[in-house]
Point group: C2
Chain length 392, copies 2
C-alpha cells in the first residue's frame, strides 16, 4: 500500500534546520533530498497548478510519479504564488526563520521576483542561499538553457564515453544533474559549518557544468599532458591491462589484473601459462600496447566455461573479478540490502542514503514524498504573518 | 615552470581544521581535495617507499604525475611507518589534535593496525573518522576487491550506458571512485556541523557501490515500476522526443525539444512545417514511440547545413541546442574560464573547485600537490611527542 508523507523529519546531523526548497525537477531536489535524509526539515515551495513538473512525469506507481517520489522523499509541500501579496508575505516570514534557501531557476529569475540573495540576506543575514543551475550564475553561458544532456554534451563527458569505433555516448543516468545536486549539498554543508564560526550566511553558486568538469579526471590529465583530447577507449583501462570486460561462454565478466603478479595468477587459473612467457605480454606496458591481441587470447580460454565458474575460480586466485549486473540485480544484491541501499519511502522502493554516519539511524523505511500542498494548511498556520510581525 | 607546494592552506569555510589524510589513489583523495580547496589543512600520511601509488602513474608533466597532482593539491605530505614505534607515537599525537581522519584502505586494515575508530575516538572523542571503500565497512562484500571498473560493472551503471545494439559501456571517467569521494566529503561536512552542537565526533562509512546506486535514478525507477531492468537507449531521453544527438552536415549536435511548443519552433526553424502535422509526431508520446523515424526526418534537414549554422538559428528560435565538445574544448570554453574551472596548481593545469561560496576567494592559482615527505620535518617538529605529553 502506498502511504503518503506524514511530515515527520528524519533524525540526523541536520536535525532542527529549516530549509526552504524552491528547487524543481532533478538537480536541486537531489541535493535537498540528501539534506532531508540527514535530518533537515525541507519545505518544498511549489507553484500553483500542477506543482513541480516532475509530478506529471512517469513512470508511475499508482498515482505517484516515481520521478517526483525519488527526489522529494521526507519533504513537506506547500503551494505558494510568489507574485501574490499574501503568499509572498508568508514566504518572506518563512525566510526570516529559515537556515537555508535553495533554488534552481534559470539565473536571474529570483532577482526578477525580488528574491535575490542580496534582498533576502537583508531580512535574514544568517540565511544560506544556494543556487544550482546549468552553467552557474556568472559567465557568458549563465542564461543558456541547460538540460542534463546539454551539459553532458558540452562538458566533454560524452566525448570520453563509448568505444573507439562508436559515437560519443551519454552516461546512462543524468550525471550532470546529479553532480550539480550533490555539489550544491557540499556548498550548503560547508556554509552551515562556517556559519557556526562567523554567525553569517553565504551564497552558494553551483553549476552542473562545473560539477561535471570536476569529474573528468583522466580526460583533463590527457589534455594537459599532450594538448590533445582523450580518445574513447570503451571499457578498458587507459594504462592497466588486462583491465576490461571479457566474454565467458554465456556472458560477460570484468577482470582487473593491473600488475605482473595478478596477471600471472590469472593466466595460471585460465590454464594459460604460455601468456606471461609471450614477449608481447611481458609487462603491463607491453600488455597495454597489445591489449587487443591479449583480449583475443584470454577470451579464447574464457569461452570454454560459463561466467559463474570463472567468477569463482578467478576470485579464489586473488584476482579482482566481477559480474556485469543490471540494475535489478544491483539493487537487489545482498550487499545493497546489507547497506540499506534499497529502501521504502511512502511505500515506494527507491535508492537509500549513501552517507552512513554513526550515531544516527539509517532507516529502511522513510517518509515518502508529499502530495501537492499536503502541508499547506499547517505551514500557513505556522508561518502566519501576524506571528512574525509580533516576533519582529 | 613547475613549482611545488609551499604548504600554505587555502582560505575557506574549513579554515583552521586539521585533517589527517591516509587515503590513496583516487576516491579518498578526491574527497579530501574538496576539503583542502575549502580551506582545511590536509596532512597526507604516505607509506615509506614511493608513497601513494599514483605518484608512479602517468601521464607526467616534468617529474610530476598528473594523476597524483590532480587529487592532492594543497595538501602537506609526511612519510610515516605506522608499524614503527616513533612514527606511530607521532601519528597518535597528530590524532589527538586532529578534527578529521580519512582512510580508504580495504575494510579491516585500520583495525589490524590498531587504529580503528573505537581506538582513536578514545584518545580524541571529537575526531571525525571517515572511511571510503568499494563496498563499505559492512555486508557480505565488505572485503571484496573494488576497482572503479568493478563497481561500475556491479552497480548497474554500465548496463544502462550505451546503445540498444551495443554492449554495456563503462562511463568514461572513474565515476564510482569520484562519487565515493564526494559522498565521503558530504559525510565529513555533515559530521563537522553536528559536532558543533554535540561536541562529539562520528564515524563516516561511505561505499563507492552505495554512492553509485544513489546515482542510478531512472534505472531504478524503471525497475521499481516494471520489475524489469532498463534497456540501454543510447543518447536519447527515455520519454522526451526529440531529445538526442543529431548529425548536421559536418558534425553532431544535441537538440532538446521536450514539448509541443519547442518541437513546433524547431520544425519551423528547420523549414519542416510538415512534421508537426504528421500524426506520428503529433504529441511527445507519439514522437517517443516513433523516435527513430523522426530522427531520420530531422537529420534529412539538418544535413543540409553545418553544425555552426544550426547551433545559431535553433538557439535563436529558443530551442535548447548545444555542440558536442571534447574535453579540450570544454575546459578551454569561455564559460569554464569565467567560472575558474581550469586552474593552475603547482604550475599544472587542472579542474577547479565547483563549490562557489560567497565570502571566500576562488583562486585560479592554487598550491600544488606536495612532493613525497615535503613537510615531513616541519610536521615532525610540530607534532613531536614531547610537546604533546606536556599538553596532555
Amino acid at each position: 500500500m502506498v502511504t503518503k508523507n506524514e511530515g515527520s523529519a528524519a533524525s540526523g546531523p541536520f536535525s532542527g534546520l529549516l530549509v526552504i526548497d524552491l528547487t524543481h525537477v532533478l538537480n536541486g531536489p537531489f541535493g535537498t533530498t540528501v539534506l532531508a535524509d540527514l535530518g533537515a526539515r525541507v519545505v518544498k515551495i511549489e507553484p500553483p497548478g500542477h506543482g513541480d513538473d516532475t509530478r506529471t512525469y512517469g513512470p508511475f506507481v499508482g498515482d505517484q510519479s516515481l520521478y517526483f517520489s525519488f527526489v522529494n522523499r521526507g519533504k513537506e509541500s506547500i503551494v505558494l504564488n510568489l507574485k501574490e501579496d499574501t503568499d509572498r508575505a508568508l514566504f518572506l516570514n518563512m525566510v526570516r526563520q529559515a537556515d537555508v534557501l535553495t533554488e534552481n531557476f534559470r539565473p536571474g529569475t529570483m532577482a526578477r521576483l525580488g528574491l535575490s540573495y542580496e534582498t533576502l540576506s537583508e531580512i535574514n543575514p544568517r540565511l544560506i542561499y544556494a543556487s544550482s543551475s546549468g552553467f552557474g550564475q556568472t559567465g557568458p553561458l549563465a542564461h543558456y538553457p541547460a538540460y542534463d544532456t546539454i551539459i553532458q554534451a558540452m562538458s566533454g563527458i560524452m566525448s570520453m564515453t563509448g568505444f573507439p569505433d562508436g559515437p560519443p555516448t551519454r552516461v546512462g543516468t543524468s550525471l550532470s544533474d546529479l553532480c550539480g545536486g550533490v555539489f550544491m549539498f557540499c556548498g550548503i554543508a560547508s556554509a552551515l559549518y562556517a556559519r557556526e564560526k562567523t554567525g553569517k550566511g553565504a551564497q552558494v553558486d553551483v553549476a552542473m557544468f562545473d560539477a561535471t568538469l570536476a569529474f573528468l579526471e583522466h580526460g583533463v590529465m590527457e589534455y594537459v599532458a599532450t594538448g590533445k583530447p582523450l580518445e574513447r577507449i570503451g571499457n578498458r583501462h587507459p594504462f592497466m591491462t588486462p583491465f576490461d570486460v571479457f566474454s565467458a561462454k554465456d556472458k560477460d565478466i570484468v577482470m582487473c589484473a593491473g600488475n605482473d603478479h595478478l596477471f600471472a595468477q590469472l593466466c595460471t587459473t585460465l590454464g594459460r601459462p604460455d601468456l606471461p612467457e609471450d614477449p608481447r605480454f611481458a609487462s603491463n606496458q607491453m600488455r597495454t600496447a597489445h591489449q587487443r591481441e591479449l583480449k583475443v587470447e584470454l577470451e579464447r580460454s574464457l569461452k570454454a566455461q560459463a561466467a559463474e565458474h570463472w567468477l569463482q575460480v578467478i576470485h579464489e586466485a586473488g584476482v579482482p573479478v566481477a559480474p556485469l549486473l543490471n540494475v535489478a540485480e544491483a539493487v537487489e544484491h545482498p550487499q545493497a540490502k546489507a547497506r540499506n541501499m534499497l529502501i521504502e519511502a511512502g511505500g515506494i522502493k527507491m535508492p537509500g542514503n549513501p552517507v552512513k554516519l554513526s550515531g544516527y539511524p539509517d532507516p529502511t523505511v522513510r517518509t515518502g514524498a508529499p502530495s501537492l500542498n499536503q502541508h499547506g494548511d499547517a505551514l500557513r498556520r505556522e508561518f502566519a504573518v501576524a506571528v512574525s510581525l509580533a516576533d519582529h
